[in-house]
Subunit: 248 residues, 2 copies
DNA sequence: TAATTAGTGCCAAAATTTGTCACCAATTAT
DNA sequence: ATAATTGGTGACAAATTTTGGCACTAATTA
């Protein structure tokens, strides 16, 4: 039996049985007592909390709260989770945010540092505000799932982004813009971009964007987005409390 | 050098340099060409997308989108993330929910099946509704971070839960109740429980609960919570569309 | 055609993991 | 007090896995 499978089997058996002796585990996984002891040591090192008691009636016991996942998430999935929690936190009182934060912090730790930098820069362009009650929500659609990776890439590479846009009147147009920020006016999400053709900022409702793609070989400079910004994506990131409110 | 560290180093070098030949990587990690080739094969098996080109000027290239995390989250952290995304999804139009779902599905996959069962059962007791505009929010406080594990444990073990409660008038009392569900009326979160002393359901605002603990050795039966239930925690779980609306 | 680079199969050498054994510490039952 | 049971450690040889070297193929560029 593989060493990894053995670890998994031992953890599973401990979970199922509640308590088990080393000899029982050794028989279960088909290995020697010594090897199981080494495995237990490795599991403890990996963060599993395993209590032990000597003597007759003793044995090992696994703290069920210490069970850990080992999922491997892609960067885009991590971004999506982060955005969810960040937006939720900003918009309302999210309970258990400490736990969610701890999880996200662990995820962050396991990412390469340059990806963490990207990620924080990306979240800093997330603006959250209040939706005007006059807004028409009748044609609210679903957001293209390829939009996030495309925007992420264009934003970080600082290259232009091209997509098809359907405006409020249903008119379609092809756009090529500089993606600068995301705006959340729940339940609406907007892409805030500088349109070089029209020489001005434009808001694009994300559910009206289709066929997004990055225009390789282009580049643009970051612009100051005319928005109130008071959202800190992480609780451990101290947001500057200075009122940098601006209106264009 | 350790095999894991070698894999990490190779992935990091590929990210940093954009492109690299096998001989370069072999020199970087201090291993032979053959070993690096085996490592590349293992990385590909693990989900890293690595392109290769033969001939002069060729080499290996890593798709940055395929970079993966390897964070190990505790069950409580996964719960917190799930609740965030589920509540967010239910309350409004959450973009990129497909990606967040994919991430959560992966996390779920890596958990033992009995934990997944627990988790789904737990999320099924999450009710989301609309807050009455009359509600006083002036004393909105922070929710005790130990509440989630305590509730989770009490709910799954079906044992009583004891805590201190501070009601709207500031009066404090000690409670011992059967936890049945969670109710979200954003930004307020409620614990819905059957109070055996008072013989009826009671709502406890979570930010007014302190010192929660499970009463071991007790047990209770699950009761039908008098709530409208139309929230599906997962997109891939088909919610029964039958109108099981009930009012006590 | 020559040079360069990815990729595979094979086998012995190197390294790591495993099992055995002796032994210690703690706890329970007699 | 003593025996029995159970967790835990160190040392060393045996078993297993990983690694390196080699020969070779396939693709691409100059």
């Amino acid at each position: 039996m593989n060493i990894r499978r053995r670890h998994d089997t031992i953890a599973r058996t401990l979970r199922r049985n509640g308590t088990a002796t080393i000899d029982e585990l050794a028989h279960e996984v088909g290995a020697s007592r010594r090897t199981v002891l080494r495995d237990i040591s490795a599991l403890r090192y990996d963060g599993f909390v395993i209590y032990s008691e000597s003597g007759p009636g003793g044995g090992l016991q696994l703290d069920p709260q210490s069970i850990q996942t080992s999922a491997r998430l892609s960067v885009a999935e991590v971004f999506a989770l982060l955005i969810s929690v960040a937006a939720m936190r900003a918009a309302q009182n999210l309970p258990f945010s400490d736990l969610a934060d701890a999880g996200l912090a662990k995820i962050e730790k396991s990412l390469p540092s340059e990806k963490v930098r990207d990620l924080r820069r990306f979240l800093q362009c997330l603006h959250i505000g209040q939706l005007s009650p006059k807004q028409d929500l009748s044609d609210l659609g679903k957001i293209d799932p390829t939009l996030l990776p495309a925007f992420e890439n264009a934003f970080l590479e600082q290259c232009l982004m091209r997509f098809q846009y359907r405006d409020a009147k249903g008119a379609k147009s092809s756009r090529e813009v500089e993606p600068q920020a995301m705006l959340v006016l729940q339940p609406l999400w907007y892409l805030v971009a500088w349109d070089p053709m029209r020489e001005g900022f434009r808001h694009f409702r994300m559910d009206r964007i289709s066929a997004p793609e990055c225009v390789t070989g282009t580049s643009f400079r970051r612009r100051h987005v005319p928005f109130e910004k008071d959202v800190s994506p992480y609780s451990d990131t101290v947001a500057p409390s200075s009122p940098n409110v601006q209106t264009k």
